[in-house]
């Protein structure tokens, strides 16, 4: 498959359960290694770097299932997001940026992360990702299992993050929402890209309408 992302864009990758979306993000982040091909960031090969070096280069993933640290406080989770050295130096600034985006997290700063609601945990996972100072933020199904109201809030925040200059790679099963807010999109089926195009343009595509939107 071939996929490219320009700086400042929101790109979404949609596809059914098992299509390979998570695997794609893990391959970019270095958690699984591609058997062939290359992952490049501004011309530099990422696919041979250890995972922490990839994060240091600003390629940050918010994993499916959030993967927060349940027995640490909200604040400690966020501080751990600032593990790369350059992110560590900006920790106070990044923290106030996250408090700003998610006021609820500030209220819950001293609470154990495992006691948060699903929506709050997702916000924490995104906040933790921002603490790593991403240039590319990859979100894996941020809407999974959340109430529609919360989903709306999360998507709004993602747009705000993008407006602040962070490039977004969004992986979703919620085709309508994600393509609707994306500059471009890719459709993944059985590990291959079957369609690519502008977000709204894909929404109008007949295959997508019948296969994913049921219209």
């Amino acid at each position: 498959m071939s996929l490219s992302i320009e700086e400042g864009e929101i790109v979404s990758v949609v596809g059914a359960n098992g299509a390979g979306k998570t695997t794609l993000l893990k391959a970019i982040a270095g958690l699984v290694r591609p058997t062939g091909g290359a992952v490049e960031l501004r011309g530099e090969r990422l696919d041979r770097l250890p995972t922490h070096r990839i994060v240091e280069r600003g390629v940050v993933r918010v994993p499916e299932g959030r993967r927060i640290f349940p027995e640490m406080t909200v604040r400690e989770n966020l501080e751990l997001g600032a593990t790369p050295p350059q992110a560590r130096r900006k920790r106070p600034e990044s923290l106030s940026r996250v408090w700003d985006l998610f006021p609820i997290l500030r209220e819950r700063a001293r609470q154990l992360a495992g006691t948060l609601s699903g929506g709050e945990q997702q916000m924490l996972a995104i906040g933790r990702g921002l603490m790593s100072l991403p240039t590319l933020l990859m979100l894996d199904e941020p809407s999974l299992g959340l109430a529609p109201m919360v989903v709306k809030e999360i998507f709004q925040t993602i747009r705000r993050i993008n407006a602040d200059g962070v490039t977004i790679l969004l992986v979703e099963q919620d085709v309508m929402h994600s393509l609707g807010m994306s500059h471009r999109g890719y459709v993944l089926e059985n590990g291959s890209i079957v369609l690519a195009g502008g977000g709204p343009e894909l929404l109008a595509n007949q295959h997508i309408r019948t296969a994913y939107l049921g219209i």
Binding site: A29, V55, V60, P63, R67, F69, E71, E79, A87
Partner: protein
């Protein structure tokens, strides 16, 4: 009086168990690997202290720094060269590896230092004051105090420092830790090194009152395994409490039944607890 004496020595033993078990539980919590070489590493720590004393007359408590550092280095080396390649391997492969390491260390010790038990006599520790009819063995008290103090220092390190939090993050969610850019290899080496340093210091602490031989580690480590499981695998605070409980139970039982049976008591508690609380007394809450 007998009971009081037993309670005291049980508590003191419990302190040592805690330091041995905390190292084991840290390694398990972070790396999900059971280090069967823990006992032979303790034995190495004991020999470091023994030889420093015999060859250069180094005070055993000064030698703790050496046992701790040597074992830290040995731990980091073992992790980098032997353990890290099997971290993704099936459990029985890991088990064979750590058992193998243990056999190699034991036989090396047997070859170099023979099987004779060796003891260290420290003049200023020989006096055992009696308080209200109870004999207080000073090296055991020192071992207890130092063990608990080190366990506390380690606890604060894990709870409060950035590096300690990174170690706990790995034990709470490995993928989460990769996600935030934690350097896994560094954390694994560090956790393994710290775990080995703990048991090395524990070894150094028992040298003034316990004879060293190449198989001595087994005595302490079997107990430490029981403690780790009772405390909840990977649970730091659980290991500390379970160590004190096991120490007490073992020595109080020894008042009523022949000394040779005391292991039976320990395993009975172990089996009963696991029947009713398989996650250990305090649950497998991770660090």
């Amino acid at each position: 009086m007998l009971i009081l004496q037993a309670l005291l020595s049980g508590l003191l033993n419990g302190g040592i168990y805690s330091l041995v078990a905390v190292g084991l539980t840290l390694i398990f919590g972070v790396m999900r690997i059971i280090n069967f070489a823990h006992g032979s590493l303790m034995m190495l720590g004991m020999y470091v202290s023994y030889w420093l004393f015999v060859l250069w007359g180094v005070d055993p408590y000064l030698a703790l720094i050496a046992s701790g550092s040597v074992l830290f280095a040995v731990g980091v080396l073992i992790e980098a060269v032997l353990v890290s390649p099997v971290l993704e391997a099936p459990e029985h492969d890991q088990l064979l590896l750590t058992l193998g390491i243990s056999l190699v260390i034991e036989n090396l010790a047997l070859f170099l230092w023979k099987a004779d038990p060796r003891t260290v006599t420290v003049p200023y520790l020989a006096v055992a004051p009696m308080v209200g009819g109870i004999m207080i063995s000073s090296p055991r008290v020192i071992a207890f105090v130092v063990s608990l103090a080190l366990t506390a220092v380690l606890y604060v390190f894990l709870k409060r420092t950035d590096l300690g939090k990174a170690i706990r993050a790995v034990s709470q969610d490995r993928e989460g830790a990769l996600t935030v850019g934690i350097n896994m290899r560094r954390i694994y080496a560090l956790a393994f090194g710290i775990g080995c340093a703990c048991v090395g210091v524990a070894g150094g602490l028992v040298v003034p009152f316990y004879a060293v031989d190449p198989y001595v580690g087994g005595v302490f480590v079997i107990t430490a395994f029981v403690v780790v499981v009772l405390g909840g695998m990977g649970n730091f605070g659980g290991a500390l409490l379970a160590a004190l409980i096991v120490g007490l139970a073992e020595s109080v039982a020894a008042v009523f039944i022949p000394a040779a049976m005391k292991q039976v008591v320990m395993y009975t508690i172990f089996v009963v607890v696991l029947l009713f609380r398989p996650q250990g007394l305090f649950g497998a809450r991770r660090a």
